[in-house]
């Protein structure tokens, strides 16, 4: 099945954007990956976000917004670098675990500039208006 080029792009999303993604059981994909995620009908698989680290746990784990978890596959390395309160830019694959959405992290960059989170919000809003919402989802 052909996907829109945005399918393989790390789309920049705000916290509430994650919560408004639609989870669908996809019959066309393999059984190992039965859930797909869409935003206004547009299928997405990867995302980028910019967040504070909140909780202590065996893996980089943040339950905020309430139903999105960030799980680092390279947890041990990230655990030492990402202290509580640090802001990190995180990229990863959108997935689902027992019904909860999660990001399986593939890349983390620690941000030092205190303005970077604000710039991320502005970029997300601009991209949503000019790119993500301007794309017509297949079949729409």
């Amino acid at each position: 099945m052909d996907h829109h080029p945005l399918y393989n792009t790390h789309v920049k999303l705000l916290a509430f954007d994650f919560l408004s993604l639609t989870q669908t059981s996809s019959s066309s994909s393999s059984s190992s990956d039965p859930i797909s995620f869409s935003r206004n009908g547009l299928l997405l698989s990867r995302a980028e976000t910019c967040r504070h680290r909140h909780l202590t746990s065996p893996y980089f784990y943040r339950r905020s917004p309430p139903d999105v978890r960030l799980i680092a596959s390279m947890a041990t390395r990230f655990e030492t670098e990402i202290k509580l309160g640090v802001v990190a830019r995180v990229r990863g694959k959108i997935s689902s675990y027992r019904g909860d959405m999660q990001i399986t992290v593939t890349d983390v960059v620690i941000e030092r500039d205190p303005n970077v989170e604000v710039l991320h919000w502005l970029e997300c809003m601009m991209l949503a208006r000019k790119v993500y919402n301007a794309v017509t989802a297949p079949g729409k």
Partner: protein, 125 residues
Amino acid sequence: MASSPMESGALVSLQDLHPFSPYFKQGTSLRVTGKLQEFSVETAIATVVDGNDSLKIDTKNLRELSIRVGSMYQFIGELCIQPDNEAVLQARVGRNVDGIDVNLYHQSLQLLRQFQANHLKNPSA
């Protein structure tokens, strides 16, 4: 395990934290930004200010945070309303944000709220 539900800190300006505000409730999770004006080593209570507004922050859980009076800080925590109706934020996360553009922060926060409200009304707009 750290699986207990914890709310995300709602982004608020200190101006939003008046007693009639919907955020002014016992246990509300908030994220506030301001200049650290006072700090008591005995009580670990800090006072942050933004313009004419101020808020007390209990920093006893932030042992690793280096506190410097006059610097900008951002705190995430739960609001505790005391019997005298004074609010203290029980901070669980704190970071120094010296260099933050406060005007950009406040303006972007307004835009973000507006964008979110519009999006929830009409997701494709």
